[in-house]
Symmetry: none
Subunit: 178 residues, 4 copies
DNA sequence: CATGAATGAGATTTCATTCAT
DNA sequence: GATGAATGAAATCTCATTCAT
């Protein structure tokens, strides 16, 4: 899966034959097909793996004693850091986000992992700290900002990253705070 | 180009042979190749056409007498409405956003059209109305929010659209306002 | 189709890749697929072509002034001669007779051409010359005898063919005559 | 072998992977290869097994006190009944009859078992009851009629089978009788 | 002796592009 | 300038067979 992901990112889905994946992974092509019935199934598996890791990793770095605002921002930063640490994973997800290859079932499974984010926002709304808008409204808003932000700072000078993140956080928090 | 775009959206780039485009467009395959040297060139042309229309159309609906905040929000709404009116165009751009098929040259050309948005934001910053952040920081932020927002409300109930847009605007404005 | 048939007979269906057919036919592989959507469709087309020729050719050699018995035997001989003249065609049909590749539709179409044989036998039954059995009973009987007979004498010494045919006819006629 | 035969009949040789046979037989793939060196060897073994059973079973039902004509017809009926009782076996043989997979050696071995039929016909010829034609001429004739006949009545209404068999016997006997 | 994961050669099919008409 | 039949490289996927366990 790792070999496949890297190739998909580098050459595109289309530009990566299964034979190339097998070679990069050091196996035979048939072996891949023993685990993933089709190329699409392999792609979905990678998607789900990243989507799940995304949350799992992010949750680890959460300090449960912080204030809600701090927790929220930590969460947001965590996501950004996750993708900065895994640029290939980000590029893969970016490419796949709207691809018809990712099935609805996979997307639904991927969403499952996001329960903790729901809770945090709901809690903030109860406390009157976060705007009392529809959950989806807020989630899609945040997702959109993370996506373009990461795409941008990946290409930017490392020295300015902290400053850019601060700017981003200021916009994000003002956007959602009540 | 229209026939091609609709097919690309419906069946995917991969799933749309040039022969299908020719048939849908009511011409021969050779004719397409008289105007676009390759399939990729055709795709880039469509991309650029939409990107340009996006701005052209949006500028039309701008009332130059409004306050800066109103202008800004009108701009934002305009973008949303443009894509709501052209769902195939949106789906196409969404699909192509991170595709290696779109060349850097095309992307750069697409950016050219965005001069008026630059000016508006710069003006707002001078007046102390908009956060004094890097231009790109703000632009990517806005672009990200528009993208996921449109994708979401396209699928949503038409009756709730206005309310969702209002919610979105409240977040967007709070995010960028000084 | 001719190139394909010869290869199918020589190497078997399985043992004949489309690339080999293309090469033998002096075309590109894609060209074959412009006329036959799949390998199976090509095989069905060959089957139908032979089945149709079988009757067309046979009918030509029929003397309409002969007695019914003579006509019947001429018919029978004609079939045999057709296949002796086209051994590859025979081998192909022999191979395909019970193959699941040949669709029911193709078989039904192939049967259409056999109207004249039906008529001849019906006529013979009316005249009390041929056993008053079910039409299918007689047809399958005859078909079975032709099949194994041709397969046999193809391998046999040419000098004894006439004698073998005479023996066969004596059995066939005794079998069906009233 | 039984599991393999049933799958071959149902899905075709081509459509039956060794893994499917192993699963259906409740063993591992390797185990099959301990008994049959290749898939083709397995197929030849099945062929030979059926060919041998065909005669063995048929001989059992023979009444040695009957007249030669009766014996002959009993033989013929016996073959038909054997295949009606083993439709999968028939379908398998039908499919394999002219397949290049069955080796000449296997075919020759299969023929060995047919000694008793030879004798019966030779005896009939000596007694002047059966046409004094070449042995092969008669055998191929009979084989052909059995083949198409069984294929036909397998699909037919069970109630009419006896009547169809009677019709068939009348043709067969008239064909071979002196 | 049984097992079944691993293998990769090879088969079918697609489709961007060309070019004679 | 328009056309679409011809092309063949290249992609996905299958499966007989092996062999370490």
């Amino acid at each position: 899966m790792l070999a496949a992901m890297n190739l998909f990112v580098e050459k595109g889905i289309q530009g990566t034959p299964m034979s190339a994946i097998a070679k990069a992974a050091g196996t035979g092509m048939g072996t891949i097909y023993n685990y993933f019935a089709t190329k699409e199934e392999l792609i979905n598996a990678i998607y789900l793996h990243i989507k799940t890791s995304e949350i799992t990793q992010t949750l680890k770095s959460l300090d449960s004693n912080s204030s809600l605002k701090t927790k929220f921002l930590e969460f947001y930063i965590s996501f950004i850091n996750f993708y900065l640490k895994h640029p290939a994973g980000f590029a893969f997800m970016d490419q796949m986000q709207n691809s018809p290859i990712i099935t609805e079932a996979t997307k639904a499974q991927g969403l499952n992992a996001f329960g903790p984010v729901f809770e945090l926002i709901t809690q903030g709304q109860k406390e009157g700290i976060i705007k009392p808008l529809e959950m989806e409204s807020i989630l899609y808003f945040l997702a959109g900002t993370i996506n373009t932000f990461v795409r941008w700072i990946q290409k930017a000078d490392k020295n300015t990253q902290q400053q850019k993140i601060a700017a981003q956080l200021s916009m994000v928090w003002d956007a959602v705070k009540a």
